[in-house]
């Protein structure tokens, strides 16, 4: 009897362990009706938090700026970390239009580079979307006072960075209509992840 109980117990335990370790099955509650937890979020509450900007321009606020406006903001709030002309310092390099027509990696680049030093990854040669600049600067910059820039200041900085990277002209106005239309040089370089496991190194 004791032996039978032990065997049954062992089988039960192994069964439980196998169920618990199955990673592929969703471990959700299996309950179909709502629990009723949480409180409804009003449009105002959502708007107060929702600062993201998408590649199609959704989320961009009103406001505008040109590179000329941006130069002063940059000098005052960004240059200390990113260098006077975006050449980098204690923070990332931002400006660099080389190599023209291709990315700073791959076969074309390796041929181009044969006679010169490597160039850094920059907004001009690597960032695929101009809207990302607005989204990131508004939420996280400057590092000493994140989230402190106005919409106009942010548009102006984006315009300055795009001009320095030779993507838009110095007089081009950046706003919620024009920014999503800016085509970044590296845009076509990006491809989905094709790794799926298995023996091939990717």
């Amino acid at each position: 009897m004791n032996r039978l109980l032990i065997i049954l117990g062992a089988v039960f335990t192994i069964g439980l362990a196998a169920a618990a370790q199955s990673p592929s099955k969703p471990l959700d509650s299996g309950r179909d009706k709502p629990f009723g937890f949480g409180t409804p979020a009003t449009p105002e509450q959502i708007a107060a938090l929702d600062i993201d900007v998408r590649p199609d321009g959704t989320g961009l606020p009103t406001g505008s700026g040109t590179a000329r406006d941006g130069a002063a903001v940059y000098a005052q709030k960004c240059a200390a970390c990113h260098g006077a002309n975006g050449e980098g310092g204690m923070a990332d390099v931002l400006v660099g239009a080389e190599p023209k027509g291709f990315a700073p990696f791959g076969p074309e680049y390796e041929r181009w580079r044969a006679s010169r030093p490597d160039v850094p990854f920059t907004i001009g040669n690597y960032w695929p979307y101009a809207t990302t600049l607005f989204d990131y600067i508004r939420r996280a910059m400057p590092a000493t006072a994140p989230g402190s820039l106005t919409a106009d200041e942010t548009y102006a900085l984006v315009a300055w960075l795009l001009t320095k990277n030779e993507i838009v002209a110095e007089t081009d106005m950046m706003n919620r209509e024009t920014l999503p239309r800016v085509r970044m040089p590296a845009r076509a370089r990006f491809v989905p992840d094709n790794r799926r496991g298995g023996p091939e190194v990717k």
């Binding site: 362990a17 370790q21 990673p23 592929s24 099955k25 969703p26 471990l27 959700d28 509650s29 309950r31 709502p34 629990f35 937890f37 949480g38 409804p40 979020a41 509450q45 959502i46 938090l49 929702d50 600062i51 993201d52 900007v53 998408r54 590649p55 291709f102 990315a103 700073p104 990696f105 791959g106 076969p107 074309e108 390796e110 490597d118 990854f121 907004i123 690597y126 695929p128 979307y129 990302t132 989204d135 990131y136 939420r139 996280a140 590092a143 994140p146 989230g147 590296a186 370089r189 990006f190 491809v191 989905p192 992840d193 094709n194 799926r196 496991g197 298995g198 023996p199 190194v201 990717k202």
Partner: protein, 406 residues
């Protein structure tokens, strides 16, 4: 004191405890507190410290993270087993550690949902809970520039915990996630207001909103009070100090998923949303800066894969000419650290010891040369090359630099 203890046999338990407690309070405690760091005494001749409210490591043990301004690394060579003590879990922050008041904490879930909702911490804890042991690893967890490197310096941006929280699928049901929603944005409330776009279908089976780690509330540096947890994926996607989730039918293309954490490839394209951590292993003992002795040496290390379980770990003690299987410590869990061990007899001749992991998909941890052949010279993230240690004739151990030089 020992004599007094024996005399308590004849009295009631309460009297004995009271007597003991009083004696301890009056005479023992100050002595023992000050004695803790003193020269060794005969521990059988003197009472030790009495129980207290919070434990601490032996003063003789001093494992430490290795910090720089943006990250700190787990001392892999100082650990045993699979769980990283919470205070040694690696850190990678983009705006420092946010200090969030749990009473003021709110998570807003909105976008393509039928019922946009705001949850308090208490709300999230009311949902059915689940626990999951898995590793977390930074996408940029490789450093191999010189011979004098420890496992902590080479790949210490990986750690493992048992996480507890609510399945994201449970919360998505609660808000009525719409079928058109294919992505969601996870946003933190740190100074970077960190954001990542997550492909919903790939994540929803295992994603959690975690509020506990190794049996207690999350550490502040791990996203207290609530973080997203995506088992097997690059750590940056498991957004900490989570304040907002927005469901959408497209990715948001934030900075960390475009200009960072993408993989330039040799053919001139760049891979985006390369979220899964491929299989990897490292020998954590022996390692630099140890010196080994001739005779028996147990090789010990850890292996992990973001695609499931570790199927085997292969060891070479002749610089990669021949390979033999290591013993895997059970249980081997999916997307979790697996300890391996290998009994070796060192004959005193210089050599190189190497490990490589194979996961359940048949993927074999590649050599750096194979990675660079596909990804090119300028690839920066998701590097998981086979690594080893050279053993010199005098037994000194150094990082095998030639193996990772393309």
């Amino acid at each position: 004191m020992a004599t007094k203890n024996r005399q308590t046999h004849g009295v009631t338990r309460r009297t004995a405890l009271t007597t003991l407690g009083a004696a301890a309070a009056l005479t023992l405690t100050p002595d023992l507190v000050s004695a803790q760091d003193a020269a060794p005494v005969d521990t059988t001749k003197r009472w030790g410290r009495l129980p207290n409210t919070l434990g601490a490591r032996s003063p003789a043990e001093n494992p430490r993270r290795l910090p720089i301004p943006t990250s700190s690394r787990t001392p892999l060579q100082d650990l045993h087993g699979t769980i990283t003590p919470s205070d040694l879990h690696y850190e990678r922050h983009h705006g420092g550690v946010a200090v969030v008041d749990p009473r003021a904490y709110r998570l807003t879930v909105h976008g393509m949902v039928d019922r946009p909702l705001i949850f308090t911490l208490q709300d999230l804890k009311r949902f059915p809970a689940t626990s999951r042991t898995c590793f977390l690893e930074c996408a940029g967890n490789y450093n191999g520039q010189r011979e004098e490197l420890t496992p902590q310096e080479i790949c210490g941006l990986t750690s493992q915990s048992e996480w507890t929280g609510v399945m994201l699928s449970t919360v998505f049901k609660e808000v009525g996630a719409q079928p058109r929603a294919t992505w969601f944005l996870a946003e933190g409330q740190d100074a970077a207001v960190m954001t990542r776009s997550i492909p919903l279908k790939d994540a929803i089976g295992e994603a959690m909103l975690a509020y506990a780690q190794n049996g207690e509330a999350l550490r502040p540096e791990q996203g207290y009070p609530v973080r997203l947890l995506l088992p097997g994926w690059e750590g940056n996607a498991s957004v900490k100090w989570l304040r907002r989730i927005e469901l959408s039918d497209q990715p948001f293309m934030t900075r960390e998923e475009t200009s960072k954490y993408t993989d330039p490839l040799a053919d001139g394209t760049a891979r985006e949303f390369s979220l899964v951590i491929d299989a990897r292993s490292v020998i954590t003992s022996p390692c630099y800066p140890q010196t080994i002795q001739k005779g028996f040496v147990e090789l010990r290390g850890i292996a992990w894969s973001g695609r499931g379980v570790i199927r085997r770990v292969e060891i070479s003690t002749d610089a990669g000419k021949t390979w033999k299987p290591a013993t895997l410590q059970q249980p081997v869990l999916p997307k979790a650290v697996t300890c391996f061990r290998y009994a070796w007899e060192w004959d005193g001749r210089p050599t190189e010891i190497v490990s490589r992991a194979v996961d359940e998909t048949g993927y074999t941890q590649p050599e750096m040369s194979a990675i660079q052949k596909v990804r090119g010279r300028r690839t920066r993230y998701h590097l998981n090359p086979v690594t080893g240690w050279t053993i010199a004739a005098d037994g000194s151990v150094r990082f095998a630099l030639q193996r990772v030089r393309a």
